[in-house]
Symmetry: C2
Amino acid sequence: MRTSIATVSLSGALTEKLTAAARAGFDGVEIFENDLLASPLTPEEVRARCADLGLSIDLYQPMRDIEAVPAEEFGRNLRRAEHKFRLMERLGADTVLVCSSVSPLAEDDDALAAFQLRRLAELAEGFGIRVAYEALAWGRHVSTYDHAWRIVEAADHPALGTCLDSFHILARGSDPKGIEDIPGEKIFFLQLADAPLMAMDVLQWSRHYRCFPGQGGFDVAGLVGHVMRAGYEGPLSLEVFNDVFRQAEAGPTAVDALRSLLVLQESVGLTEPPAPVVPTGIAFAELVTPDVEPLSEILEALGFARTARHRSKPVDLWQQGEARLLLNTGPAARRDGTQLAAVGLESPDPAGAARRAEALLAPVLPRRRAPEDAPLDAVAAPDGTELFFCATDRPGLPSWTGDFEPVAHKPPVAGGVHRIDHLALTQPWHQFDEAALFHHSVLGLGAQESVDVADPYGLLRSRAVTNADGSVRIALGVGAAPSADEGGRAQHIALATDDIVTAARRFRDAGGRPLPIPANYYDDLAAKYELADGELEAYRELGILYDRDADGAFRHCYTETVGRVFFELVQRDAGHRGYGAQNAPVRLAAQHVRRPVR
Amino acid sequence: MRTSIATVSLSGALTEKLTAAARAGFDGVEIFENDLLASPLTPEEVRARCADLGLSIDLYQPMRDIEAVPAEEFGRNLRRAEHKFRLMERLGADTVLVCSSVSPLAEDDDALAAFQLRRLAELAEGFGIRVAYEALAWGRHVSTYDHAWRIVEAADHPALGTCLDSFHILARGSDPKGIEDIPGEKIFFLQLADAPLMAMDVLQWSRHYRCFPGQGGFDVAGLVGHVMRAGYEGPLSLEVFNDVFRQAEAGPTAVDALRSLLVLQESVGLTEPPAPVVPTGIAFAELVTPDVEPLSEILEALGFARTARHRSKPVDLWQQGEARLLLNTGPAARRDGTQLAAVGLESPDPAGAARRAEALLAPVLPRRRAPEDAPLDAVAAPDGTELFFCATDRPGLPSWTGDFEPVAHKPPVAGGVHRIDHLALTQPWHQFDEAALFHHSVLGLGAQESVDVADPYGLLRSRAVTNADGSVRIALGVGAAPSADEGGRAQHIALATDDIVTAARRFRDAGGRPLPIPANYYDDLAAKYELADGELEAYRELGILYDRDADGAFRHCYTETVGRVFFELVQRDAGHRGYGAQNAPVRLAAQHVRRPVR
């Protein structure tokens, strides 16, 4: 199917929007009237710019408050419409969106609405223009798609059809099955938007909270299925009013938007991109740092050993059980300070995973960094984290471990960390929803519910994506508003242990500095839970936090922060799917008290 | 009445919150449990800190999911409560908030709820603690204040009373009149919050959108009246969960919070602060600028003349009709660039206006800047703008004009600008609601509805405050999120004319550079309105924008921007109350195309 996007969905001036849409790969655009009015380009220049960019103009929108009004008012409306049809001629747009009236002048009279829409269509026909009539969810008398269709049917004019909008249909709770009763050629246009499920005023919901398909709670794919079965052959077009997207850079938003349409087409069987290859574990996490000392001290105290060194680059491999961390002191580190730069995902089919990612518009990174390196498939996540698809020490496939030369080291300690439990990655503020959709669609990870977490200086949101057995867990986090706040931007690596008390005690006894947790927290734990003898005392001594739900317990503690990065020790009962969100406010407050090491 | 605030209403660590509350002048605080848990201070240290700051601890909160549960569960709840009562002893808090249960274990059994709450009260009594039971609007079985009171009444224990929360009562739409049937001594606590009227899930509404009384749409004062008539003698306490306040600096938020309680007490007749003195006009607007040239050129082209110079400071008075602008090139200008720094409000009683402002916690500025200056009463608005209360050339009162020495100038041109129509001031992002409340309560201006305006790079909000005859109009604006965007932070001065075409033409012919408006805008005007012959052409030629509603027309055009400041020419039909919001997106887009002069 052809893909299109309404210019209102993207930030910036009209030319920026058009450029972003074309670069992302859209086939066409809907020109939102206010974007044209505010542009210094003439309609002819906009037409030429779209042609240069390879974009068709699929829709001009909207025309409002046209139908079911007294004759004199309708005369003025026709005059207004004629102006717009002339404009559309100059623009080269052949379909116009007419929204059902919200005017207090509009009468509850379907026959009058049909009569006047037919008149409008007759006028449009003379300009070679088609009129697509759409029911706004808050239309004065016409607010459902089937009602709009009945009026179109009654008007019975070839230049008049209907426009379906997934938001207006699904926000009203209408059953989209009836769409199949509309002849496909009378569905002139299809606008798609998702939205989080919210109990709120539908106009406000629509104007501020729409999002791209797959980011919200609507069954947009199901609706598209019905539209396809009706025989619709026009473009799939995104029309999203969203306060965040209005502020976000147009380029990345356009890419995220098109990705949502690609995933949507796959889910209704319209396309078959390479299938997702779900990662089966975390092969490694790579930290860049300008100074290896503070991280090395923490890793040693945690029981990690430096087991290998990259053959050609300043990168060390630190290992404990299946937990592997790369410490990179290369040039990027000196530029960006200490941060989590890359994640190795253990993949059943690295090349297939990369093909999937590329098909879904993830930027593909060069397979080899240096001639002597093993080829590795990698893409960039929306937050810039590099994702490597790995086959660690598996026969027949190149392994990243081959680039490393073992170095002498002490044998690992028993009963320490055995793998990475999860990674927590702070996302760019404007791309939180996109990040979840990226990890879901590109990597095939399932998204858990979003949770709010109170930091002393603002509310944070967190949403985890995981594979089925929990061997890959990534917690995506974001602040409540754009902010330079250090705590909000921190990333962390959570390390799984089977015995957190032993692991935390060893860390402390080896000179590690656990994040201090206030005594008041433990008084509260004592009030909430009856813990075994000595358990509370050990937690208090070692700064261990405790959470429990019906699926078991979650025990965790934290190291200090180096640059943007800190570590967490986690002892997770088998069924527990949480991340200690209940304890996060206490942890965040403690981190504000204790500033990062550097 | 004593005033109190819940720590959850303010940003930061517990100690920051306490300090901010005390400095603003609150008498006491509610300690929100999570703030204590996250604090490194012991309960004894918190108690001592509060005592040092002169704050009482009026409430410890909340205890949840206590009542109407199976016996075994209730046993655990009592154990938990005993822990908390011990903690409250250490803290020196004698009242605890118990919220109606949301637990799935809770039974719909008022007798059981009363029996268990009585047991809880018996336990509390031993610690000298009072239990205040409150109906959450989303409580599982108890969600209205009268239901909670019936249970308290049935439990019949001196250590058990009810807590009333204006949000929970008014969000449910309950009639607060019934409060008067509760004996005052059984109302153990009163929590106050306002909220904008929104049709949304009540839990989300409560957790994210509460605001201070007077900032929202609830009749909080009416509710307080009922509570007073019931005989309540405890504190008026603010409990506000608000995403914005969580991020805002605690100090200013605490001041705004206390101001809201002062205004509330006045409105229910509990206090009598000096009465508001509503300004009757705009005496002057003062611009600071490091370089007087670009502004002088614009003012000259607009028909202003430099009529006087300050006797001792580098400040010029430019005048045209009743429109007076001060251009200040003093030290502040070199620090902050060109901006609107002060507004002179014509006041029937300048000293009275200043007394009102001071009583409502506005920072009072020194009356005399230099020994030779006329004494002037002035305060700072929340955005830092200095507000001078002026008596311009009125007998018996000092006039600011006396500080100025007339200079020779050309006679004013006829038919130009005659006064300042309005000022548009961008507010700090975190203080938009506070700004409206400040202007309303301190200056006695009426607040109009808030409107959204689409800037190409994000949604802006604007809300005007005016006096009754429209001779003082201030449009308060804010971006959708904290942002360094230049357009969002701009301020402007709108100048009233009776003939905008003549005024705009003279401006252009005198070398002024009007903000260019796209031709597409005028095509749309032609479609929308049938204007008189030549009218559209004149607008197009001069960059004049046009808006019309039932109350008449609004015509306006803009100069280029200097620093943060630009000017608008306005021709307003007598009844029109708007500010051209419909045209704002076009103006904002044009300003992004045309960057400020410096």
